[in-house]
Symmetry: C2
Subunit: 261 residues, 2 copies
């Protein structure tokens, strides 16, 4: 009853696993060519601008020829992600965990800023492609030297990952707009919110919108400072986890039983 551990074709190719030499014509291009062409389209027109026919046209081939390289559009997405992220940046040595994971988060954010369509890619499966794993590895290494257990490192990484994705999702609309458009959109939202969130039914919202520009900030301020602040809060939470684990300056509340540090 062994399971189907064999990788899907895309993953095999992304990992550079190649079968023995075979007869027939050589492929005209490489997976990464397809990925780059698709990314070119997505960067300018959003993920909606990526279709099999458009990508094929971008490469100067017919639609169906793409299916010789990629089994489905989901596979195309996988290739795009792999190409867009590239290899994870090496963490700066000599930093504490907080500096390391902050650097990772900012690199991640920068990738999303450069390729906002990433946030629109429907996520179907957990990451298994090479570059995705390098990013995962890099994030996990940030917690080297902390007393966190393996599981805690995983969930801490996920926390940071989720934070970056989530905040960038909020600013997604802005990323594809000019600063001007984004500003007026934010002001419009603020006005409408002030109109609808009456003080009797929505006191807390009303209190938040009362001071001008406050809800603008809700989206706009995530430009840079807001990002760092929010990330800091998440990391503060992780720090609490760490303090709880390490009996250095604080008595361990409950000794971890089964887990290995």
């Amino acid at each position: 009853m062994d399971e189907q551990v064999e990788l899907p074709r895309v993953l095999q190719q992304l990992w550079g696993i190649e079968g023995p030499a075979r007869p027939g014509p050589k492929p005209a291009f490489h997976l990464s060519d397809i990925g780059q062409a698709a990314i070119r389209l997505a960067d300018t027109g959003g993920l909606a601008a990526v279709s099999m026919s458009k990508v094929a046209a971008e490469l100067g081939f017919t639609t169906m020829s793409l299916y010789r390289y990629v089994d489905s559009k989901d596979d195309l997405y996988a290739v795009m992600l792999e190409e867009a992220f590239g290899e994870a940046p090496e963490p700066v040595a000599g930093q504490a965990w907080r500096g390391r994971i902050t650097g990772w988060a900012e690199a991640f954010r920068d990738s999303l800023r450069q390729h906002p369509w990433i946030l629109q890619v429907p996520v179907s499966e957990p990451p298994l492609s090479p570059n995705q794993l390098t990013w995962m590895e890099s994030a996990l290494q940030a917690f080297d030297g902390t007393p966190l257990t393996a599981n805690e490192r995983l969930s801490s990484m996920l926390l940071v990952n989720i934070y970056v994705r989530g905040t960038m999702q909020l600013t997604l609309t802005m990323l594809t707009q000019t600063a001007e458009e984004a500003a007026t959109a934010g002001r419009l939202y603020n006005q409408r919110l002030r109109l609808l969130a009456t003080e009797d039914r929505f006191p807390a919202i009303a209190a938040g919108v009362q001071q001008p520009n406050s809800v603008d900030d809700l989206d706009l301020d995530f430009e840079d400072d807001g990002f760092r602040d929010g990330l800091g809060t998440v990391l503060d939470g992780i720090q609490v986890r760490i303090d709880r684990q390490s009996p250095i300056d604080r008595k361990a509340r409950k000794a971890p039983t089964d887990r290995q540090g």
Copy 2:
């Protein structure tokens, strides 16, 4: 240069804003009928099962008749969300902020569990519909009594919001599968990861996968305990924010200058 503060048609209808009586036949049904029909489809077949024609068929009408009620498919999504979430649950009185926001987060999570397709709905605009605002209001009220500023409450709310969405996104696949399928999928992922993440190139990942079931947990453990743990970490971070604001048992590190407490 006043801007277009007037609401789009869907929002007007969702808020129950109606113009004066008009000639012509009365509409055959209500927006919420459409929403419920669409939700019925999405709950069983995922968001992909929702198309204008399918929804119309579900109601016993033709495709194009839907456009008399809804200007676009995005509008349909808005109606679905509004209907699926319903009004936010009242926070339990007499709890501290932590208990209140935890209750809110769990209610939010439960909504996502019941309607996993929510996570697939492309988010285009910030929330302005009535029920969405009640959820926003409810979350903000959870921070009543804390020394957090209005902006800090907003960003804390977003943090929790993002956390819930993010973690549920990870378990999305599981939500639509049977427990058995999910388990084998998790085991398969674990196996593949162990195969690819070799110790030389991916030491941190390898360390995480070494102990059996650890990466299963990465997804599976979010069933209940993992959710609470992660949420606890996020709230710990917010607690640090609160402590920093309140000079009760801790000297204010840096007096907030411009902001009002």
